[in-house]
Each structure stands twice: as structure tokens, then as C-alpha cells.
């Protein structure tokens, strides 16, 4: 993987860059749609390419490991071959889902024992086997195995957890460096800064993570319930420590406002289930603001969902039709809403890139955010 920093905004810490992988290049700042179980829910692969113009998608190690399982993915020749998405893929480490989805998890120095949410079977994730699993999935960008501490979190727990995450990182790097990709293309490993909302811990973690000198770095443990100001302060602090010449990935963030504010702080990569999950609940992001499609006010609004955004779903279908589909729990409602929301998120980061290059990023951000975040 290569990262080339093209431009830094003189008025903020926003940057424009380019990540090159064996599956293609990614313009940054970028938003990565979440493809949990090897599918971005309700979206065809060609729609990701042509309509949404996604440049990289996520896969979830926890989900893919449980189903279809590594044996199937390896026989397919990796996740790209399995799901037919030939651009870059990033996989998380599985840690977050182990903490949030599975029952009876037990965290020890060795790793995490957990029980499958699907069939109750017992499993163990360790820093080593999570590297092996992501090697087998074949992600272009792999994530280190960490503990994502909850919020709020006692200082002592956060400190111990962070220190274990650092020890786990050493084991991840050792295993990663001793192994090779299985499918003939290169993979890279991003470590993850933890430390909850404690400044000294975040500083220590960022310094430690930076010292590993991997090709990119991530910030975890944010957007877990803390106030936005805490998120921004922590992101700012960490970005100042993480090396400038490597991409910075803020995990699991966030709203359009979170994304633009964190771009301004120097973040290059984002992922979040918000545009896809909220779509399935009828919450629509548009260039004019946020629409709750369950609201009766849309039932006779025959204007396009988002004429400004352009694109098929935005212009072909009306708000009234989408509302009907959402209220009737029709699959097409989820399809249209997801297409709209992801197209909007990719439009947002593409606009951010253009405005950073044009030199008016901060002005544009401050002007557009009140529009984008208003509830229509």
C-alpha cells in the first residue's frame, strides 16, 4: 500500500491524498460503506461501482469468520472473488462485534473467548489468529486486534485495556510480518489508537501506535456514546501525533457533521453503519437535509428524493413513493434509501476533497453543515 499526500488545507488540518492498493486507488478523504457479511446490505456490486462510486468497502471479520466461514472464502480465492467486488476491501479485526454481539465473552491476555450469536458455538480470537483470518479473507487493509473500551469507562480500565491493546498489537505485527498474503496481492495492517476519552492515555496510545511505523493508522473507541466535543478533542489530539505521511482512519464515524469536522482535524478514512442502517429505518440523508420517511408530510410529496444529488435513485423515485415503500416494509424501500444515503455520503467526501483542493473547505463546511443536518 502506498499513500501520497496531495494537498493540505492551510486553514485547517484537512488533507487530500491517494491510497494505492493492488485492487486500485482510493482518493482521500473517503467514506467506506460497511459490507458486514460480504454484502453492503440492499446494494448490488454494480451499484456500489456505478451509482454510489464507492472506492473501498468494509467487511466484518467476526461475521465472515462465522458465516460463510474461512474454508469457503479461501476456496473462493478470497472475499473479492467470493462477493464479486474487485476494488479494495478493509476488514475490521472482529473485536468490536465480539464485544457488542456475542454473549459470554471473556477477555484474557491470550485473547477473547466468545460464543457465536448464530449458533451458540464457542470460539477464541487472538491477535495471531485474527491476522490469519484476515489473511484468509484477503482484505487489502487489515486491522489490528484491539479492545474497544466502552463509554463511559473508568480510567483504570481504560489504561489497562489500552496497554493490553498495545501488547496485542505487537503480537499482531509479529504474526502479520511472519506471514504472507494468500492470493498474490499485498495486504497491509493498520494499528488502532485506544485510550477512551483520557487525554494522557490517547497521547500515549497515539505515540505507541505511531512507533510501530505501519503504513496507516486508525483511531478506535470513539463514537461509542461520548459527546461529539469529546470525539473531536480526542481526534484532534491523536491526529497531531500520528504521522502526516500516512492515512488516518477514524473507525465507526459518523454523521455528516462528524465526518466534515474530523476531516478538518486530519482524518482521511471513515466508515459507519449509519447511512445503511438508518436507510433501512427510513431515515434519508439528502443535500437539502435529513428526511424521516415515516413522517406523514411526505405522503403526497411527488418531488424527487434528492434532485440536487442526481443519480438514479435520487431522481427517479419520489419522496411519496419511497415513503409508501418504507411504510409498507417493501424491500425496494431499503434498496432506494440505501442507494440514496450511500450516494450522499460518497458525494459528501468527494465535495470535501474538491473544496480542500479549491482552498475553501472550512467556509464550505460551515455553510453546508447546517443545511445537511437540518431535519426536514
Amino acid at each position: 500500500m502506498k499513500f501520497s499526500l496531495k494537498h493540505t488545507d492551510p486553514q485547517s488540518k484537512a488533507r487530500v491524498g491517494e491510497i494505492t492498493t493492488d485492487h486500485g486507488t482510493i482518493a482521500t478523504p473517503i467514506f467506506m460503506p460497511v459490507g458486514t457479511a460480504g454484502t453492503v446490505k440492499a446494494i448490488h456490486q454494480r451499484e456500489l461501482h456505478q451509482d454510489i462510486q464507492a472506492e473501498i468497502i468494509l467487511g466484518n471479520t467476526y461475521h465472515l469468520y462465522l458465516r460463510p466461514g474461512l474454508d469457503i472464502i479461501e476456496q473462493a480465492g478470497g472475499l473479492h472473488k467470493f462477493n464479486g467486488w474487485d476494488k479494495p476491501i478493509l476488514t475490521d479485526s472482529g473485536g468490536y462485534q465480539v464485544y457488542s454481539l456475542s454473549g459470554n465473552r471473556k477477555i484474557t491476555e491470550e485473547g477473547v473467548q466468545f460464543v457465536s450469536h448464530i449458533d451458540g458455538s464457542k470460539h477464541l480470537f487472538t491477535p495471531e489468529n485474527v491476522m490469519d483470518i484476515q489473511r484468509t479473507i484477503g482484505a487489502d487493509i487489515m486491522m489490528a486486534f484491539d479492545e474497544c473500551a466502552p463509554y463511559p469507562c473508568e480510567y483504570k480500565y481504560a489504561k489497562n485495556s489500552m496497554e493490553m491493546t498495545h501488547r496485542w498489537l505487537k503480537r499482531c505485527c509479529d504474526r502479520f510480518d511472519q506471514t504472507e498474503g494468500k492470493y498474490g496481492y499485498s495486504q497491509t495492517l493498520f494499528p488502532i489508537v485506544q485510550g477512551s476519552v483520557y487525554k494522557d492515555l490517547r497521547k500515549k496510545s497515539a505515540e505507541t501506535i505511531a512507533s510501530f511505523e505501519r503504513e496507516g493508522n486508525a483511531i478506535g473507541g470513539l463514537s461509542v456514546g461520548e459527546p461529539a466535543e469529546e470525539m473531536y478533542a480526542t481526534t484532534d489530539l491523536v491526529c497531531d501525533i500520528l504521522p502526516k505521511d500516512k492515512p488516518r482512519y477514524l473507525m465507526g464515524v459518523g454523521t455528516p457533521a462528524n465526518i466534515l469536522e474530523c476531516i478538518a482535524l486530519g482524518i482521511d478514512m471513515f466508515d459507519c453503519v449509519m447511512p445503511t442502517r438508518n436507510a433501512r429505518n427510513g431515515m434519508i440523508f439528502t443535500t437539502q437535509g435529513i428526511l424521516n420517511m415515516r413522517n406523514a408530510k411526505w405522503q403526497a410529496d411527488f418531488t424527487p428524493i434528492d434532485a440536487e444529488l442526481g443519480g438514479y435513485a435520487s431522481t427517479h423515485y419520489s419522496k411519496a413513493y419511497l415513503r409508501h415503500l418504507v411504510v409498507s416494509k417493501e424491500i425496494l424501500g431499503a434498496q432506494i434509501a440505501t442507494l440514496q444515503n450511500l450516494s450522499f455520503y460518497l458525494w459528501l467526501v468527494q465535495q470535501a476533497r474538491e473544496h480542500i483542493l479549491a482552498g475553501d473547505f472550512v467556509q464550505w463546511k460551515d455553510r453546508i453543515l447546517p443545511v445537511l443536518m437540518q431535519r426536514l
Copy 2:
């Protein structure tokens, strides 16, 4: 509406024709995807056009009447404008759903009182208001309000029901002929032959229906549980009575075998939920046979779903990936399966048309049906 009969097969009663409506022409024999609530489930409108190459879709009067409701559809300018499908639409009369979905229905000479399956509200369908409703929906082809007798059905019930359906037809035609389309394009009304599996009743009904001299005719009350041989015998008998110069629509039929056999008997139009509903349950129709995607045998089969059929879904995704999606209950599984099944059904009738014109329809049908109907 115009129907022009292009060619009749000398070896069978199969025909190739063309229906012209104000929303475009339809080559027959044709299969019409079912778009229950104004959406063919899991399918974008452009996919209906470009991938499936549908020429006409169905809407269900019962569903559309209850949700979004006539007021919304009329404000939109009709169903075509509401859902963005600009080719022909056929609506059923709502009768079938009233009998199968709603509780506490009460059939009288006046019409059918029923209770909404959505909110328990009380409604009345009469031959007259069902015409008005379909005028408001704006279907190119409207269906008469009938009673679809259950199977098995006592002779006496079938006879009384059929006679009432004929009286209702007179009321439907009167209302239809006294009213006009609301949106500037023409609509037509098809009456429906009933009579259960009783030959004398079917003969009587077909003669009665033909005597109304509408622009097309339909056969209802089949594919409701009777043996296939009964369905074919009844269809054969009725087709011989219905006029040759008008399209014949066999409602709610059926499997690929049912469709080809009934094309051979002179049917021009079909609809059925089988390709869409079965898709959502993981049953896939292909040019090689029928696949149950839940079967473990597909879990490591990385060949395309249906290389022979061509098209995006058929060739871009593997059986193993589709199986994974179906087993994981992913929305994309329903999307891919539905695209495949509807593409297959439209391919089937397109092949039928070509073989009728080429003069080898019967030979082709007898050769291909054992392939298409085998369980792989």
C-alpha cells in the same frame, strides 16, 4: 388496446402476437411480473427494464387501495407516475386478495365486505367501485371483479358463484363503459372465465365471457390447488371457445412447465408470484434446472448462478455467494434471486415466441421442460 395475432403454430395452438397500449407494445406470449404494492419486490424499475426486460407488470388493486390509497395515487397522476414504471400495467380486481388475505369477508350480490389485513378497517368492494378504483390506479388493462371459487368446490357453489361473476361482469362493463380514464391514456377491461373444474360450467362461462366482446379475456380460478392435468384440460376447453383474435390471459399461472404447456393451448399472458416469492425463499429457476440455495451442495460452488442465461445477476454472482446471502437472510440474496428468476421467466416466454415463429415450438418445449424442471 389493440391485439394483432402474428403467427399460430401449426403443431399446437400456440400463438405469437402483439398487444399495443398507450404505454407501449407487449410481445406475446408474455409473463407479467407481479408488483403487488406498486413494486416488484426487491427489484428497481430500471432492472425491470434493462435486466429482466419486462414489458408489463401487475399491480394489486386490493393492496394499492389500502396503501398508499387512492387519494395518493390520484394526486401522483396514476400508478405509472407514482412508481416510475412507464410501460404497461395490469391490475387485478382485488377479489383474489379479498378472499385470501382479509378476515371476515362477506360475499353478497352487492359485492364483498371485508376487513383490511393492515388495520382491521371495514371496506366494501363492488363491481362498480372496483372499476372506479382501477380507473384511479390507471392500469392499462383492468380486470373484472369476480369470485375466484376455492378448490375443491361443490358443483352447486361453483355454479352459483360463476353466475354471480357473470352478473357482476355486466355491472363492471356498464360502469367501465360509462366512465373514462383519468390520465389521458386509454384503459381496457378484461372479463374473467370462472366455473371451477366443471367442464359444463367452464364452457358456459367462456361463452358468456366471449359474448361481452371485450378487447381481451382472462381465465381465473385455476392454479388454486387442482392437479395440473385439470388445469390443462380446462384451459384447453376455454381457449377453444374464447375468440382467437383477442389476447387470452391465464391468471396466476405458474411453473415453467405450466407456462409452456398453456402457451401450447393458446394462452398469451401469464402472471404468477412464483418467481418472486420463491426467490425470496431461496428457490432459483435456471436454464439448467431448479436450485434450492439452502442446500449445502452449493456452499462451495463458485460457478455463476446461470452462465447460460447471461445477464448481470446470473453471471456476476456465484451459487456459493448467493447461498451465503440466502442463508444469512441478506437483502441482496432476495435481490439477486429475484433478478435471476424474473430474467429466467422473461427468457422463457421470449424463447417460446422465437420457437413458435421458427416452427419448432413443440419439439423445443418437450426437449427443454425436463431440463428446466429438474431439481439440481
